[in-house]
Symmetry: C2
Subunit: 263 residues, 2 copies
DNA sequence: ATATGCATGTCGCAC
DNA sequence: GTGCGACGTGCATAT
């Protein structure tokens, strides 16, 4: 079931042994994990130094590099995919050097002690799906406009209108034009200003009543007031609810496909 | 030199063995690495599903969780520090469930096979220093104002002025007020608008000539034109150069401390 | 190649 | 807690 070399682990190796194992794993494009005592220097878009301490170094098969401290979600140092690596021992230390071009930047990890080197051949082709994004909210409104408002008829979306793109625009039940700006979380004053920026030039261009509506799960502190002074509206809508709607719509479609009634 | 339990590694353990090892390591607040075949579900601010595949699961001593695919810099799923974990075996699968409150969100990693479980006690107190940030640029200009302009006298920085904070303000050699907005990389039109937003209210309030200057290593495409129409200026300045200046200044101080001339 | 905007952004700091 | 901006942001997309 499992190739003999799917996994290689060295515990408390000598630095030279670690060097050999890492170089071999790099050639084989395996996922490498090194645990040890190291310091780190980065130079490129900025510069950084990380003093001696015990961390994890991870190098992936596509040349991504991560240095993780024992706390925190984010890597303390890293290198994006596509980096090229060089390993060498030097004065009783092991140096792992990762370089990428465009932008030119490099990370140097210097170990004085290594607790573990692990090399894995990982096979991963599973799909990743993310729901309840802003884009899901757009699609949900387009597929089920009454989510926004009874009688709303979408006309277009992601429409270029100087000075940017309008999320959705359409007509309400009274035939008024509606410009919608969608946010997937609490809308800030920035969002209100963004909407206003889109509205004004259009108002100036067309001679017709125009509603600007901010759609979001909630509003920031002073945003309601700002909207009011600008004659804009707010409509509450939750990204989760939109995701639900999309799911149901998808189910409905599938049912139709299989010859069943869709509600 | 090294405690006997600094490092524990299990290779190709049974799921029940893995469960025991992970639970023990969680109690000991060690850094845990699990390599295996799994699928992942996330629910919280959004929702996601990741189909079956071989990945790394990392749980840190502060309750941060990372799921890494064999490619890419970013984790495919994660949970910030402070999450609480629950491990159980179920129908020949091992479930690792991480939950955090505020916002309420959870990640469920379900393994059907495990290649390695590793638990480490990492000791890391080394300082991390990042140079050539925007803040370094502020400090460099404050310490050596001629970096910005000959005769410039800084008055204040990070000054609250409705509707936000001005990076630096001061007086030029002719006694004109100068408002400086600093960017560490190519300045976009957003930066220009940000500067304008600060300038306008101040102009309205004081009765005095006022210069608005965008300081950055370079300008985006139409930004020069935008600055011109708004009567704003651009001054080229590189964050690396600022970092250099700070370094020299620091050295100069040290030299003084040691009784030597500082140029 | 550059520009624009989203992200389960994260993180830090001020109010 | 909320707001605001920086980040070695990364990332996808459209031009």
């Amino acid at each position: 079931m499992q190739e003999p070399d799917k996994l290689t682990v060295l515990t408390n190796p000598k630095l030279t042994e670690a060097k050999t194992a890492i170089e071999k794993a790099l050639l084989q494009k395996r996922t490498i994990i090194v645990a040890g005592n190291c310091h780190v220097h980065y130079s490129g878009r900025a510069r950084s130094t990380l003093e001696l301490g015990e961390r994890l170094l991870i190098i992936k098969e596509d040349g991504a590099l991560l240095v993780h401290r024992p706390v925190g979600y984010e890597p303390v140092n890293w290198q994006p995919a596509g980096s090229v690596f060089h390993v060498q021992t030097k004065e009783n230390k092991l140096e792992v050097h990762g370089v990428r071009q465009k932008p030119r930047e490099s990370v140097l990890v210097t170990f004085n002690q290594i607790y573990m080197v692990s090399a894995l051949s990982l096979n991963d082709s599973g799909d990743f799906l993310l729901h309840a994004t802003e884009d899901d909210m757009h699609r949900a409104i387009l597929m089920k406009p009454e989510l926004f408002e009874e009688g709303f008829k979408p006309i277009s979306w992601e429409k270029k209108v100087e000075p940017g793109f309008v999320d959705i625009y359409g007509e309400d039940k009274d035939g008024k034009l509606v410009i919608i700006e969608v946010k997937r979380k609490t809308a800030t004053k920035e969002a209100a200003l963004q909407l206003a920026k889109y509205i004004e030039p259009i108002k100036a261009k067309i001679n017709r009543e125009l509603r600007g509506v901010l759609v979001a799960p909630s509003l920031g502190k002073d945003v309601q007031r700002i909207l009011a002074t600008m004659g804009l509206e707010f409509k509450e809508l939750d990204p989760k609810k939109c995701a639900e709607v999309l799911k149901k719509t998808k189910n409905a479609k599938l049912e139709t496909f299989f010859g069943e009634d869709s509600q």
